[in-house]
């Protein structure tokens, strides 16, 4: 069966998956390029406008606000996630029962839904009903409740960041722990005999030997942040004044409640180009780490 017919039998087994990707990834992508060149809505007839939608985006202040906010969110949260994730990995990388348990607990929020966790934190941060305001008042840190969402874009941003750090810090931790555990024991022993302190060893051995993992996790995490939606849709709804409307939220608002499918497609294409750049970077790095 592995002689001449094997080649075609193989294609036969591959066909369903290829058909699926063609129908639900490749075809919509081509359709999206086509739609982005039109004034296209479900209600009225479509009209070819060339690059009109892209010009519209260029001149749309909300487009720049959303893009800037999305980058700012990514720029703030990524280093926090990496540093905190790595510190927790250092703390828990040894396989003692308590550390294994801690690792498991830190990873637990990663498996629950982002929607559910956003709703949970929306409640914790609630002005009247939230336990965060209650605890801050009880601890004497603030004298009256803080209005976390809807009033100040920066306060909202940091509240969302706090909730997402809780939700996904375990993702980096688990990959860092694997990388740290893969460091050969002899290397650590050699420097221990040299009398290097713990932090010297981290700087000279652990960090350089896990650098590739750190870089890859940074990219995966940054791509995830550039695509942020659930947390902002649920917790801030883009408020105040659409200042916390992320790129994906802007696409959603244009395409669905407003049904401006042409403009939504153009925005999607711009986002896809940004993500593609990051992904190519990631693939190049992965290739290199294998070779």
């Amino acid at each position: 069966m592995h002689s001449t017919s094997g080649r075609y039998v193989g294609l036969l087994y591959l066909a369903p998956a290829l058909a699926f990707v063609s129908a639900f990834t490749v075809y919509p992508f081509l359709q999206m390029i086509w739609m982005s060149l039109h004034n296209w809505s479900l209600i009225s007839a479509k009209k070819y406008i060339g690059l009109g939608n892209f010009v519209k985006a260029w001149n749309d202040p909300q487009f720049w606000t959303s893009l800037g906010f999305t980058f700012r969110y990514t720029l703030y949260i990524t280093p926090i996630l990496m540093i905190l994730g790595f510190l927790i990995a250092l703390l828990t990388a040894t396989n003692t029962p308590l550390r294994k348990f801690t690792r498991g607990v830190v990873f637990a929020p990663v498996v629950i839904g982002l929607g559910a966790s956003s709703l949970l934190w929306y409640w914790l941060f609630s002005y009247d009903f939230g336990l965060i305001n209650r605890s801050l008042i009880d601890l004497g840190i603030v004298s009256k409740p803080v209005l976390w969402f809807g009033a100040d874009a920066d306060v909202s941003l940091w509240a969302v960041i706090a909730s997402i750090v809780w939700k996904v810090v375990g993702f980096g931790t688990i990959l860092f722990v694997a990388a740290i555990q893969a460091i050969p024991g002899e290397i650590n022993e050699a420097t221990m005999v040299d009398g290097a302190s713990y932090w010297q060893r981290v700087r000279r051995i652990t960090l350089p030997l896990t650098a590739k993992t750190i870089l890859l996790v940074t990219l995966v995490s940054a791509i995830g942040s550039l695509l942020a939606f659930d947390q902002f849709y649920i917790m801030t709804a883009g408020q105040p004044h659409n200042q916390t409307t992320t790129a994906v939220l802007l696409i959603y608002l244009n395409s669905f409640p407003y049904l401006k499918l042409g403009y939504g497609s153009a925005l999607s294409l711009i986002l896809a180009a940004i993500i593609l750049t990051c992904t190519i970077f990631q693939i190049v790095l992965t290739r290199r780490s294998h070779g």
């Binding site: 294609l11 639900f24 990834t25 359709q31 637990a108 949970l120 009903f129 809780w166 650590n188």
Partner: protein, 308 residues
Amino acid sequence: MSAEREMRMSTGYFASARAMEGDRRGFVERLLDGRAKYLVGAACIALCTVMLLPLLASVLASLKSTAEAAAVPPTYFPHGLSLDSYHRLWNFQAGLLTYLGNSAGAALLTILFCLGLTIPAGYALGRFPVPGKEFFFLVLLLGLIIPYQALLTPLFFLFVQLKLHNSLVGLAIVHTAIQLPFSIYIMRNAFEAVPRELEEAAVIDGCNSWQVLVRVFLPAIVPAIITVSLFAFITSWNEFLAALVIMNKDTSFTLPLILAAARQQTSIGGTDWGMLQAGITISVIPCIAFYLLLQKYYVAGFLNGAVK
């Protein structure tokens, strides 16, 4: 496990090296060493507390009575346990069972689609000399390059034409598209790892390729099947944006959608926080349960597929 052994070896080695030096280190240093151990323990316990408190607060809030759940300022611990919130959730709009059914249905279909597509594809990629194999592999991984968030506008249009919007099959198709690259990757690796002798024995016995797949490979790739199913379930059960776009009739909502809607619209006027926490608790339970049961597959999936 090997790391643990290395660790023990290394501390043993260190101890003997120190013994040879006659332990020149002073009393204070040794005391600090001991204290570091307690500091690490304390840090671990503090970390666990911070990570678990939000979940615990949610579960406790879901058990408060109707009046207590709406109290300002909120109470830390419920004064009495009550299932009022769960009762209200049970009867909320089309009823909890409708939404649980939608979520479970979409998740089940996603698992079936993922396995149905990627088992044969992994078989082909792992065991057949398909012409242009690496090109096809890259095509199947396209979802990694084109994020589904950017494809929802044309997908929505396509689904309206195909009458797949407001249908669980439509939603499961998007969830399958999200999971496909990861699943293909895991399956290909699993098929490639099966020893050639097993396959050859079956071929000599006169099995055709389909029989070889069913009799030889399927039993051998059970761990990959579990990993793919687990991740497909978690993705579909938790996914929010595609569901929001495709399911816009309130009887077709999934659990995350009805909870997000319940944040705004309740009969009492304000948000029914107790009911919301009951909903969060119910949507979190299967994720945590599968995580605890299948932790091994979970971690393996993350390490093998998340970053590659």
